[in-house]
């Protein structure tokens, strides 16, 4: 029934909010759309998998570990690749990020194979209230997503780091002459990305299992969320994610579930035709 579908959609949307936030942050600060966001999600899931299944750590600990490991990986990736392309055209960075995604996803594929894995967690029960079913995984997703969103909100609005990110996103030259090192802020931005994507990777892995394709199939949805919200607006990213989640779940009522991922594409096309700046963003025109 509809209400159940909408509820499921909210939860899906919440899970999508974290990677959408990460994409938005890196877009604003680094000025390019990171097509490797899906692959980074995959890596996060696999980091957690190794910590949880191979090293027998509880999932919470594994999640925190994955967040830290991914943050370090992204800082290293920036140092090795993105830093060397720092002031190139956006399209070069796009292609480079696709290259990075090939590398990341296939390292996972190389090590773990194509099959789907699962975290080691006790079977979680469910709840029922007002005719709506709600399971514990969904609960964890909601809690983690909310925690992530609140953390980002506080970070951007009330911390020194957040102010430095806004400054560099706005005007890196001015930030420099006010004493802010662009490179240091960029490193920290990747670290934040890593934490968000690590946590999100665990959530996605919980919901649909961990396999090398995990991020790739999420990629379009993450972009759809960010574009719907307006590329560059964190609040927009969250709103966009919730909307995409609900629309995707509702779409399963009318079209085959195989095409769930296709809804993201259709939504993007739709938005770009009607209102390219999304809900809360400003449109970025071709030079």
């Amino acid at each position: 029934m509809i209400a159940q579908v909408v509820l499921n959609g909210f939860i899906t949307g919440l899970a999508l909010a974290l990677p959408a936030l990460a994409l938005t942050l890196s877009y604003r600060i680094l000025k390019f759309a990171n097509f490797a966001v899906g692959a980074m999600l995959t890596l996060g899931a696999y980091f957690a998998f190794v910590l949880n299944v191979t090293l027998h750590l509880p999932l919470i600990v594994a999640a925190i570990g994955a967040a830290a490991l991914l943050a370090a990986t992204l800082i290293a990736t920036d140092y090795l690749v993105f830093a060397r392309l720092r002031d190139r055209t956006a399209i070069t960075l796009l292609v480079a990020s696709i290259g990075i995604s090939f590398i990341m996803e296939n390292i996972a594929r190389l090590i773990f194979g194509n099959g789907s894995q699962n975290f080691n967690v006790a079977i979680m029960g469910g709840y029922q209230r007002w005719n709506l079913r709600f399971n514990a995984e969904q609960g964890y997703t909601a809690i983690t997503a909310f925690a992530g969103m609140i953390a980002v909100y506080l970070l951007l609005g009330h911390t020194r780091l957040g102010r430095s990110m806004k400054a560099v996103a706005d005007n890196p030259e001015l930030a420099a002459v006010r004493g802010i090192s662009r490179e240091a802020v960029i490193r920290r931005a990747w670290a934040v990305n890593g934490v968000l994507l690590g946590a999100a990777g665990v959530l996605v892995g919980l919901e649909r299992g961990i396999d090398p394709q995990l991020g790739w199939s999420y990629l379009v949805s993450v972009f759809a969320a960010a574009i719907l919200g307006g590329l560059g607006s964190p609040v927009g990213a969250v709103l966009g994610a919730m909307t995409i989640g609900v629309v995707q779940e509702l779409s399963t009522l009318v079209i085959s579930p195989n095409y769930r991922e296709a809804t993201g594409f259709c939504i993007i096309a739709f938005i770009l035709l009607l209102r390219p700046q999304g809900l809360l963003g400003t449109v970025s025109l071709k030079k």
Binding site: R160, K166, D170, L174, A175, A176, V177, R178, G179, S181
Partner: protein
């Protein structure tokens, strides 16, 4: 008795973009406490010179010193720590952040203690009373003149010994210009050396200790305002 080190020392500075030098062999020493103004026709390289001193454009040749510290080779953020304050000509505030955030950001990344930062804040707010009760307002909503004042305030947050101003009165009404010029002289009286790029020659001559004319990237004249008024015809100098 040795004279104190110059507040700013430019030694044979040449700089430009991709091979073509916009600034050629500029040499000048600015004494502490001076108000030193650079004037010149459009395209003479004045803004480039300011950006070179600020550390935004690399030098092709020459050295820059502030007091006894060598600025050459330092990044822009490092120069702020060395005592340089810079107000760019445009885009000199963060419009999407509040006034309070603009001020905070200008002093938070210099490795200072909380106490020191709080003291700077007080000092700057005293100098710039306009800011006081509007700290939560988005800076983008300020008028042109108010933005300029905010930009000054932000540059002053780091407690600089030398303040670099790029066309501070550009695009402002005569009243606002007078206010800005007034503010500059007050700042100077607190001991901050001023190195200023200006289009407005009259005002420049009025408050400056010395004036330098830059034409096509080279120094044409370096004199006090009185000497300047007596000896030089500005038109001829600009066209030379």
């Amino acid at each position: 008795m040795t004279s104190p080190a110059p507040a700013l020392s430019l030694r044979q500075i040449s700089a430009g973009y991709q091979g073509a030098n916009i600034v050629n062999d500029v040499t000048v020493d600015i004494a502490p406490g001076e108000i030193f103004t650079v004037i010149g026709p459009n395209g003479s390289g004045k803004s480039t010179l300011a950006k070179v001193v600020a550390g935004l454009i690399p030098t092709a040749a020459g050295e820059i010193w502030i007091g006894t510290s060598r600025l050459s080779g330092l990044s822009a953020p490092e120069r702020v720590r060395a005592g340089l304050g810079y107000v760019p000509q445009e885009f000199n505030i963060f419009p999407n952040m509040t006034i309070g955030e603009n001020l905070a950001v200008a002093v938070e990344f210099l490795g200072r203690s909380r106490g020191a930062m709080a003291k700077r804040r007080e000092a700057v707010l005293a100098m710039f009373p306009e800011a006081g009760d509007r700290l939560r307002m988005r800076a983008g909503l300020l008028s042109g003149g108010e933005r300029q004042l905010l930009a000054f305030a932000c540059a002053m947050m780091s407690g600089p010994k030398l303040l670099l101003l790029d066309e501070p009165s550009a695009g402002l009404s005569p009243i606002m210009t007078a206010k800005i010029i007034d503010r500059i002289t007050s700042i100077n009286k607190t001991g901050v050396t001023i190195f200023m790029i200006e289009q407005n020659v009259t005002e420049a001559l009025r408050i400056s200790t010395r004036v330098m004319v830059l034409v096509a990237g080279a120094v044409r004249v370096l004199a006090s305002p009185t000497e300047f008024g007596a000896k030089y015809d500005l038109h001829k100098v600009y066209l030379s």
